[in-house]
Subunit: 226 residues, 4 copies
Amino acid sequence: MGAVKTKRMPRAVREQQMLDAAVRIFAQRGYTAASMDDIAELAGVSKPLVYLYLNSKEDLFSAVIRREAGALTAAVRAAVHPERTADRRLWDGLLAFFTHTARHPDAWTVLHLHARTHGEPFAAEVAAMRAETVAFVTQLVAAAARDEGAPCSGGTGSGDTRRVRLAEQEVAGIAEALVGAAESLAAWANSAGRVTARQTAATLMNVAWTGLGGLVAGRSWSPPAE
Amino acid sequence: MGAVKTKRMPRAVREQQMLDAAVRIFAQRGYTAASMDDIAELAGVSKPLVYLYLNSKEDLFSAVIRREAGALTAAVRAAVHPERTADRRLWDGLLAFFTHTARHPDAWTVLHLHARTHGEPFAAEVAAMRAETVAFVTQLVAAAARDEGAPCSGGTGSGDTRRVRLAEQEVAGIAEALVGAAESLAAWANSAGRVTARQTAATLMNVAWTGLGGLVAGRSWSPPAE
Amino acid sequence: MGAVKTKRMPRAVREQQMLDAAVRIFAQRGYTAASMDDIAELAGVSKPLVYLYLNSKEDLFSAVIRREAGALTAAVRAAVHPERTADRRLWDGLLAFFTHTARHPDAWTVLHLHARTHGEPFAAEVAAMRAETVAFVTQLVAAAARDEGAPCSGGTGSGDTRRVRLAEQEVAGIAEALVGAAESLAAWANSAGRVTARQTAATLMNVAWTGLGGLVAGRSWSPPAE
Amino acid sequence: MGAVKTKRMPRAVREQQMLDAAVRIFAQRGYTAASMDDIAELAGVSKPLVYLYLNSKEDLFSAVIRREAGALTAAVRAAVHPERTADRRLWDGLLAFFTHTARHPDAWTVLHLHARTHGEPFAAEVAAMRAETVAFVTQLVAAAARDEGAPCSGGTGSGDTRRVRLAEQEVAGIAEALVGAAESLAAWANSAGRVTARQTAATLMNVAWTGLGGLVAGRSWSPPAE
DNA sequence: TATGAATGAGCGTTCATTCAT
DNA sequence: TATGAATGAACGCTCATTCAT
């Protein structure tokens, strides 16, 4: 499983090998229990080289988080096109998110499970990624309130003047709930196996967009053809 | 912050003090990074006494998880009355859940963040608690499909025969999403401060029951008077 | 295996129970690895009581050694009658020795294996016992030189004037060799099982009295009828 | 007494230094009471280096036993020439044995006193060495019975048909007695000081070959000229 | 006579980190 | 660019021993 012991590689390549190894080890053991020995061995290099390139265990962990958070963020960003409707953008983002986390389960484990477990240096890194995600969702909710129009004719009998009454403060909570649901589902899909990213995204889209009340009442949301 | 150094207490009392200290330390540092020295010091006793009563770090962590998981489960169970409607039961459960996690933030951090990070001995403990929760939610969804009747007259134009079409498999995903959202919200409410359990519960109830689409369309769910 | 937990026993009895337990534990684990907890538990008393009666681990070990060394010495002394011939006295002593060690294997293990392993407090205790044994054997050798007379007519051709030429210094070595052989044989007989004390004594008597050279030449020594 | 603190030595050299230190400490204190700190300090290195090279206390002890048992066995084997007579081979073996144990008293203390005190991992190592020794002696006894011929004409009056009547079972006891005597004598010679290996070997040869009875009757065995 | 409660000191082991080459 | 040699500091755990009753 360890990288083939090739000598005299350019620094950039060696660094990526180390980060690859670090992601695996950190995911399997967690930050504290992971040892620099294990990482160096899996990377196929000596320990001093790891320190030469990455300085310390903290820095190494930070580098891992930055790289993986960046990759995940980029994948989602690339999938969302601003000219589409709000629900379509939400769908595209979720699909990209679940696809990426399914393809990089170790990375997701580190970001979701381990990075938040430890003091300031790392929490900040992850918080930044999360903040972007929450901003993205918040923006979607606002956009949805603009785009979408007609309330359900029945409703609570209050007519269309009610819409867009989402208090600023509540939006944060809603976004947090959505992101939390997505995060949990990503870990669940990875560990349960046998669930595709599309299915996971559709499930979340249904409960998030239509709501439990709507679902049991027969409403549902359908993903675009492909 | 450490407990007052009182001497010669009966075993049962000392044990609870130790568990209290352990919850704090485990929450702040995580299982691996927490040290038995720190726990003993915070509990106001010497390390050997911790070992005499709790046997090992693993056993101590297990005891913490069992105690806290039991307390949380009990709080939720006590709040839910089976003769009420599905949405009312969901509300009651959520409110009890967020109230308890707000009152015991360290316990929730341990259960949510740290306990799942480590191998079989602990994961099983937490998995049991989570399984009960998921079963509770699943049951609610099914009950909702029975209780509630009339679909939104407009809807997607498909009439009332559509309801109850939730595939068995999808229910697992929905429950997971809900539980995940609740878990994340609990941590968020704790860290953000300034958000009451009622508000958190209402937020989740809205997004979960009414859905984002419904919310922007003006529908919303209102908590019972008291 | 532990003594039945009877309360309020006279001190002398309790002390013997503790020594009994200590002999077993010390024999099984050795002095350093044996724990006062184990000994107290096997004795069926609390640890402070052991300290109340025996003061410390060192004192406890000393007490064990003194008791067991005394018992062994007494058994041998009782078996040897000064009015008998030298070889008969040697035989009686050996038989008593092997009989006692076979009946108290744990005691012998402590005396032979563990007591000599540790610094001055204990070595002295055992050395005293050993000194008595060596003196006893030395005396026998001297007595034999007086009692017994005729040299083997062949010999190295040197006639009977040669006898009693055992240098003082050599006698110590001879006694040491005999005692060492006996000690090893005792442990061997205990661990091998299935060898009676009589057989063991006869074996040693043969090799010690007749010598290997004599044995292969057809000489041998026969134990008294019973 | 500790090795001079020389830095940056090749691994093989450091390992031998560690084993040297371990032999001394184990001999002085016994396995359980010896501490890795003491060994590391005497070896002139830090404790982690000892673990890096020798893995654990058990492994270190095993390595010590293997090295010292091998050296002793080799020394004896090199001294014994199969074409010589039985008594000469016995003499050569004993002389080599006492010479080696006199030169390496700590090693002998570990092998004789401490290694047999502890459970399977170590006992096996020593048992192998001892088994070889016993086999060697057994073979000598058998060879002696072949080589040597004429019984002492007097004897116990039983004629020459008596020889070679050593029961298989008894040979094991005789070998054990001889080996035990030798082992004890080695420790005794070391602790008493002032006794040469030649003297010790001669003493044992006399009592073992000629027998106490023979000795007091004027017979004796003389070592070869040089 | 007897014990539940408690601890200072130490041990085997591991880890992040550095030095010298 | 790359590594073999080496360590200070800490951690989980245990033990002989005492205090208060």
